[in-house]
């Protein structure tokens, strides 16, 4: 079937801000889809509120709207742009839901817009629990007994009929949000109430629990002619009960025979045919571990996190093919880009094993429960490829960058057998380490399997790894043993640790005996056809396939690893743009990364892709084969920066800012010297290693002080301390892990926080703009609302910032990007920190100023000068727009996480509000972040004493907007004394009605709760905030944020229609 000639202008909906359950995979899918559509000559109109994405670049789509993803906004865009078609299945659940709403309301039909790809009918059949179940029954595909309920009574009745435990799954939610397993009626009522509220349609599926069954997924493609293929299947090592996003997953399935494999494959095809899906689809099965009995768990009629993983695991570009199918092509008409010979109508076959491990945020939320459930908690994931399972698992573990490099990385040696047996019952992120310890303690496979339901095959593989640990420890380290250890991917440092030798000795022994990594190609066809795809992975004990090189200069671009809080998709954006810029300048580009969700690991971004862990040893393996002319580390976040020293030891020149200058910015003494020379003030402070030293410095400076480790991103471990006790507490937290670098203790200054990203060529500096944070210092910059251009500071401050930036960049000999954070106290400017590398605000500031910072940085790195590139150095004139970056959090997904903002970053993503006026931009930013007020116009205020003055002003404004204000005792008194009407409510332990009762009564729109200093000091406040978040009430923990919100609401009242801004028209300035 040729492509549909009626499709010319396609509206693509992105997935919005990164939240848990909906992350970078949709930037990858959306970018691939847009490029695929443009390849076919389509005009692409893109809407996505997330500015940190590649897909919102002017060169990916023709028209780019970084606007809030709401039905109203989409309707306005459709009216303005008049697309003929809408592609809703690339933007995750968010995009799909919007497409559905537009279709259901008749708006699409009215304006002549066709839904491309899967139809609304199909989506309903797959997504609506009842319709889905009926459809499955019709075609004889089994589902677990279940009932869709819309109230708690029906849920309780059904559960007592089918028996506990039961699984609860809210309809139309992200990442299983609000779901869970209930073992009794109390749990059922709790989870069900939450689930009903979170579901867009107020429906929750109550289902017989099939926990413990094997969880198997199939990625299926179907075209309009009905041709179907499965791209790959995947097996979750964690059986049913853990969300697949939080499970360790292996591809292809390992423990299924052909009978089981084909039975489920046929079922998946049967289902996709019946649903009539055109495009990609994910089918999840539960397979009974000891019979052929299976159940269909769910179907996702769109590209998903799993399909991104399947794409990277096989090389089959699911999103690209899905986009072509949407245009009317059939699978046998679409070429397989990897082989260039075969077609998309074939099934990839793997000759390697792929392991995915989720990146869970428990290092950020140390108070949160580590338990894994059907509610996804991971912020990102890593993938690894090997020719054996043990090796792939080892590679994935060290890719996580969570201080783990082998199965001994968590120490459970103290646990007795009995304690281990108990501990194995807990399903959390440490389960494989616990299984390893159980094996070491001699607990048999059957017992471990009976408790965990993890398949014996995987348990045996873990045992092989523990046996190797023991063999290395026992010694002697023979060549045979070393070879075997490397075959299953024990890194040199672990071998060194276990054998009591040095890492250098191990490396030498390997090199002397030719035990080196070989590189194999991912080619979709197990070498059956010659492929030219430059997509490689390493193995030991094999031959390297010819890695062809061009007679060009070679540059290594180090990626940023898994998405985590503090190091998100922004760094992938930077890596990809740098790669493209190097390619334009005639370089051969090589990317190393291990994140399957990102654009950078798409095989056609760089000339070569190595899907490998980002550790010194793994990078050296690649360097030995490729011998690059240089490496860039400044785009890949802290992951890449950390590799600088190792790269230099390997003899790879670091392109751009020199390593010693990067060090100078991080090293306290060196940096102080530079500040002295350049006469730039900063908050007084000192470097320490121990709590004693920290207290001494703190007392010398006077409290409050800021405590933080150096060389980290996202303010990990950063805290404001107000007392010696807190210093002790925070230092203990930081020193949980051995620190390679000293800890910094600084005087805390309260003022306006400002930030610049700039490009420096060694002589001149180009500052696209100054961003001002709405929250004053103390809130991490990544969690602050950031405004460009800075709205409230004086010209003098701006000039000072430009001047200081120039001096700092020059003193640090920056070649490329630099990010500097300042505090302005009145007109005095202090520097907080300098990072000679890319930052989280780079994509945002590039888009709103029209200055392609990463491209410029890359050109500067290869030796060009800012002036030659057509730019006048210095601070650039402000753009015509206000652009406001709003942080977005995923607190509701992480049970027990403290939500109050502080110096440690907690947001998972961001969205943008862009408009001609500050107020409209602010309104859009809040709207994009999902803060959709008001419903009931009732709010609660409970603030610490220091905030009472500001709270009065804010409350007065809310009152004016018609809000009914509830407040706890002292806050109420302060408000009432100041003439703001506030109703007093009791604290939690006091008699009803308390604050809690109010929140649980579902009549509150907003809670403003500013916590007293310090962690865990205020359990009341913590409970109030958690309850608010978990019941879907907006909760604000900083007075500045509250003031901004009320400004936005005041503006919303007068807002009639939003102005839409096509970001692609913000001209590339200076070019």
């Amino acid at each position: 079937m040729p492509k549909n000639p009626n499709v010319k202008r396609v509206l693509v909906i992105g997935s919005g801000p990164i939240v848990i359950g909906q992350a970078a995979e949709f930037d990858y899918a959306g970018t691939q889809a847009c490029r695929s559509l443009k390849e076919e000559g389509m005009e692409v109109i893109l809407v996505n509120s997330n500015p940190a994405t590649i897909m919102t670049d002017g060169d990916i789509a023709d028209k780019v709207y970084i606007e809030p993803l709401t039905v109203k906004v989409l309707e306005q865009i459709i009216l303005k742009e008049k697309p003929d078609s809408l592609l809703p299945n690339m933007g995750g659940q968010a995009g799909l839901n919007l497409g559905m709403e537009l279709d259901e309301s008749g708006f699409l039909k009215e304006h002549g817009v066709t839904l491309l790809g899967t139809t609304a009918k199909t989506i309903r059949k797959a997504e609506d629990r009842l319709e889905f179940k009926e459809t499955m029954e019709k075609i004889g595909e089994p589902c677990a007994p279940s009932l869709v309920v819309e109230n708690i009574e029906d849920g309780v009745a059904f559960a007592s009929q089918i028996g506990y435990p039961v699984v609860l799954r809210p309809a139309y939610t992200l990442g299983g949000s609000g779901g869970g397993i209930a073992h009794d009626q109390v749990q059922l009522e709790e989870i069900l109430a939450n689930g009903l509220r979170l579901s867009r349609v107020g429906q929750v599926l109550v289902e017989r629990c099939i926990a413990g069954w094997k969880e198997i997924e199939y990625e299926v493609m179907r075209d309009g002619a009905g041709n179907c293929i499965t791209v790959c299947n995947m097996e979750n090592i964690d059986p049913v009960g853990v969300h697949t996003g939080d499970s360790i997953v292996v591809a292809p399935s390992q423990t299924l025979g052909d009978k089981e494999y084909q039975m489920l494959r046929s079922s998946a095809l049967n289902i996709i045919n019946e649903l009539g899906i055109t495009g990609g689809c994910n089918v999840q099965f539960a397979l009974h571990p000891t019979s052929f009995e299976y159940c269909v768990i769910e179907v996702n009629p769109r590209v998903s996190r799993s399909s991104a993983l399947a794409s990277k695991a096989t090389g089959y570009p699911i999103a690209k093919v899905a986009a072509k199918i949407a245009l009317g092509y059939t699978l046998d008409e679409i070429k397989n880009a990897i082989t260039g010979k075969t077609y998309a109508s074939f099934e990839p076959t793997l000759d390697y094993c792929v392991v995915k491990i989720p990146r869970l945020p428990f290092d950020k939320f140390i108070t949160a429960k580590r338990t894994l459930t059907t509610q996804m908690k991971a912020t990102g994931e890593v993938m690894s490829i090997g020719d054996n399972f043990e090796g792939a698992l080892m590679k994935a573990i060290r890719s996580l960058e969570q201080h783990v490099d082998c199965l001994r990385s968590y120490d459970f040696t103290d646990l007795s057998k009995e304690e281990l047996l108990e501990r194995l019952k807990i399903v959390d992120d440490q389960r494989i380490y616990m299984i390893a310890e159980a094996i070491r303690k001699g607990i048999d496979y059957e017992t471990i399997h009976d408790i965990t339901m993890v398949d014996i095959w995987f348990i045996d593989k873990i045992a092989i790894l523990t046996e190797m640990e023991a063999a290395l420890e026992k010694g002697p380290l023979t060549l045979e043993l070393l070879k075997e250890a490397k075959r299953i991917e024990f890194p040199d440092n672990v071998i060194a640790r276990l054998t009591g030798k040095s890492e250098e000795e191990i490396k030498k022994m390997r090199y002397d005996n030719g035990i080196v990594a070989a590189f194999k190609m991912v080619d979709t066809c197990a070498a059956e056809f010659a492929a030219t795809t430059p997509y490689y992975y390493s193995v030991f004990g094999s031959e390297t396939e010819v890695v062809e090189s061009h007679p060009k200069k070679k540059v290594l671009v180090l990626g940023s690893g898994p998405i985590r809080i503090g190091q998100g998709i922004e760094f992938d954006y930077c890596s990809v743009h740098a790669t493209w810029a190097f390619a334009r300048e005639g370089y051969e580009t090589i990317i190393i990364n291990n994140n399957p969700e990102t654009v950078s690991t798409d095989f056609d971004i760089a000339d070569k892709l190595y899907f490998e862990p980002l550790t010194p040893e793994d990078v050296e393996n690649i360097v030995n084969v490729e011998k690059p002319d240089g490496a860039v580390v400044q785009f890949g976040g802290q992951t890449a920066i950390k590799l600088t020293e190792s790269l230099m030891k390997m003899g790879v020149p670091i392109l751009g800012t020199r390593a010693k200058d990067v060090d100078a910015a991080e090293d306290r003494e060196l940096f102080d010297k530079i500040l002295e020379e350049t006469q730039i003030p900063r908050a007084a402070g000192g470097t320490v290693y121990t709590a004693e030293q920290a207290k001494e410095v703190a007392n010398r400076l006077g409290y409050p002080v800021l405590v933080r480790p150096s060389y980290v991103l996202g303010g990990q471990g950063m805290q404001i301390a107000i007392s010696d006790e807190e210093i002790e507490e925070f230092m203990a937290v930081i020193n949980r892990y051995e620190q390679d670098h000293p800890i910094l203790v600084d005087k805390y200054l309260q003022g306006k926080e400002l930030e610049v990203d700039a490009v420096c060529d060694g002589t001149d500096i180009l500052i696209p703009g100054i961003m001002e944070h709405i929250e004053r210092t103390g809130v991490h910059s990544g969690d602050s609302i950031s405004v460009y251009p800075a709205p409230t500071v004086s010209e003098k401050v701006k000039e000072t910032i430009a001047e200081y930036s120039r001096r700092l960049a020059k003193a640090l000999h920056v070649i490329g990007l630099i990010n500097i954070q300042f505090i302005a106290v009145e007109d005095e400017v202090y520097v907080i920190e300098v990072n000679p590398r890319s930052s989280r605000t780079v994509p945002y500031i590039s888009k709103v100023t029209g200055i392609p910072i990463v491209d410029l940085a890359t050109e500067v790195i290869i030796g060009k000068k800012i002036r030659d590139l057509g730019y006048e150095p210095g601070l650039q004139p402000a753009a015509d727009y206000f652009a406001i970056k709003m942080p977005v959090f995923s607190f509701e997904k992480i049970r027990g996480a403290e939500i109050s903002l502080g110096p440690e970053m907690k947001s998972t993503g961001e969205c943008l509000g862009i408009a001609r006026t500050f107020n409209e931009a602010l309104y859009k930013a809040f709207l994009g972040a999902g803060v959709n007020l008001p419903k009931h116009k009732q709010m609660i205020i409970t603030v610490k004493d220091a905030d009472k003055g500001e709270a009065i002003e804010v409350a007065r404004r809310f009152e004016k907007l018609g809000y009914i204000i509830y407040a706890t005792r002292s806050t109420a008194k302060a408000l009432n004394d100041a003439g703001v009407k506030a109703r007093k409510v009791n604290k939690i332990q006091q008699e009803s009605p308390t604050v809690m009762d109010l929140i649980l009564g579902h009549r509150i729109d907003l809670v403003i709760d500013t916590p007293t200093q310090g962690r865990d000091k205020n359990r009341d406040g913590f409970l109030i905030r958690r309850t608010a978040i978990e019941t879907g009430v907006n909760c604000i923990t900083a007075m500045d944020t509250a003031a901004a919100l009320v400004t936005s609401l005041e503006n919303a009242e007068s807002q009639e229609e939003m102005t839409l801004i096509d970001v692609a028209t913000i001209a590339k300035r200076g070019k």
Binding site: G140, E141, P142, C143, A144, P145, R208, I210, W213, A225, G226, N227, T230, P252, Q254, T255, G257, D258, K259, Y261, Q262, R265, S266, S267, A286, H288, T290, S291, F292, E293, Y294, C295, T330, D332, K341, T342, Y343, S345, F346, E347, P348, T349, L350, D351, C353, D387, N388, F389, D450, D455, W457, D460, K520, C525, A526, A527, E528, F529, A530, E543
Partner: protein
């Protein structure tokens, strides 16, 4: 024990020994299926060949004897990256190591199977030797390897006597289950196992009698027909056409099988007689090639064949593409087809080679791939229904 795989071109791979302790010379081929190693091992079409599995982890679910496609494994040798130490599957009877030893199949593990596959892809299928002799002499071995031919193998793999497989009488209670999703560990421990599900939902072949000429048939061909209600009589490969026709079957099925089709000279003569009869015929793989040769077409040896479970074939009648299970080293030459005799019915989407023929003016339909699957996708099992419909349309129903 150190073991070597020596190829005709002088390449030597060193690995470790698996299976029976003996040296063997054979034709080396590769199979790209990710699951289904037992079905591959017991597919008689591999007689005279040693199979390399491109998927590196083999033996993970052990040997489930009920999945065997014939009574024994046929390959001369088995080549893998890694054999699983502990198999895991509720039906597992023995380990793959035991199975290979018990059945006298030697093999080699621990070699770079991807490198081997790339050699075979570039240079074409070639002969090789698996040996444990560390003092091998290439000058002696290579001429030996070059001389080796698979020869006549069909007679070796066919059944010895005719036998009958009765048709299924009622749809077994073995379709996919609905609703009863209770995991009962006690039942499991007591040895209670669920039945296998079946793709077949209708006994449309009830009352039909099919003659299956066993040229090295995989069991699932007869099973697929019997599961639809057909009574299947299986004949040895050397059975005369007259004998088959005398039993008055409603349809004749020609099975898959090993070796070079042109070696089967006498069988081709008998198949010509079957062609002349008016009985509907459905043929798979070797049967498809022999029918082509019997009616004047030609076959040739492919560079490295099609062996795996991911080959797309296009049904030229409907334009639909199906993913098929394949195992063949020879193919019908499309350039030499006489459209008055036969026209292509299926083509391979990857390389455009012939995958099926429809015989002009005859109720004869043949395919190169394996609609009986096992291992591999079940997408084309509808062809058995098509065959049953053809037999019904002929009106020779005995029901």
């Amino acid at each position: 024990m150190k073991t070597f795989l020596i190829l005709e071109d002088g390449t030597v791979f060193e690995g470790i020994h698996i299976g029976a302790k003996k040296d063997v010379i054979s034709e080396i081929v590769f199979n790209t299926s990710m699951a289904g190693y037992l079905e591959v091992l017991t597919d008689p079409s591999y007689a005279g060949q040693a199979v390399c599995m491109t998927y590196p982890l083999i033996g993970n679910y052990g040997i489930c004897k009920e999945d065997m496609e014939s009574k024994r494994p046929w390959p001369d040798g088995f080549i893998v990256r890694e054999l699983s130490r502990v198999p895991s599957n509720f039906r597992c009877d023995i380990t793959i190591q035991q199975f290979l030893e018990l059945n006298g199949v030697p093999g080699i593990a621990g070699i770079d199977t991807r490198a081997l596959t790339r050699i075979l892809r570039e240079k074409g299928t070639m002969n090789g030797m698996i040996t444990t002799n560390e003092n091998y002499n290439l000058d002696e071995i290579i001429p030996q390897l070059k001389m080796y031919t698979t020869g006549k193998v069909v007679e070796r793999v066919s059944c010895e006597e005719k036998y009958v497989l009765p048709g299924t009488q009622k749809i077994a209670e073995n379709g996919p289950f609905s609703g009863s999703s209770v995991f009962n560990k006690e039942d499991y421990k007591a040895g209670i196992r669920e039945k296998k599900p079946s793709l077949v939902r209708e006994l449309n072949g009830r009352g039909l009698r099919v003659a299956l000429l066993d040229l090295g048939a995989k069991d699932n061909i007869a099973r697929s027909l019997a599961a639809r209600g057909c009574e299947v009589t299986v004949y040895p490969a050397w059975t005369m056409a007259e004998e088959i026709l005398a039993d008055k079957p409603d349809g004749i099925m020609l099975s898959n099988g090993p070796g070079d089709p042109k070696e089967c000279t006498s069988i081709i003569e008998e198949i010509r007689k079957l062609y002349e009869s008016e009985v509907p015929i459905f043929a798979i793989c070797l049967g498809h090639q022999l029918m082509a040769l019997a009616t004047g077409a030609d076959t040739f040896k492919m560079k490295y064949g099609h062996r795996g479970g991911n080959h797309p074939v296009k049904d030229l009648q409907t334009g639909r593409v199906y993913i098929s299970s394949q195992n063949h080293g020879y193919v019908v030459d499309m350039d030499k087809l006489d459209p008055r005799v036969a026209v292509p019915a299926f083509v391979n989407v990857n390389d455009g080679t012939n995958e099926g023929l429809s015989y002009t003016g005859k109720n004869i339909f043949t395919v190169q791939f394996h609609p009986e699957a096992c291992p591999g996708p079940q997408d084309s099992s509808y062809l058995f229904d098509r065959f049953i419909n053809t037999m019904r349309e002929e009106g020779v129903c005995h029901a």
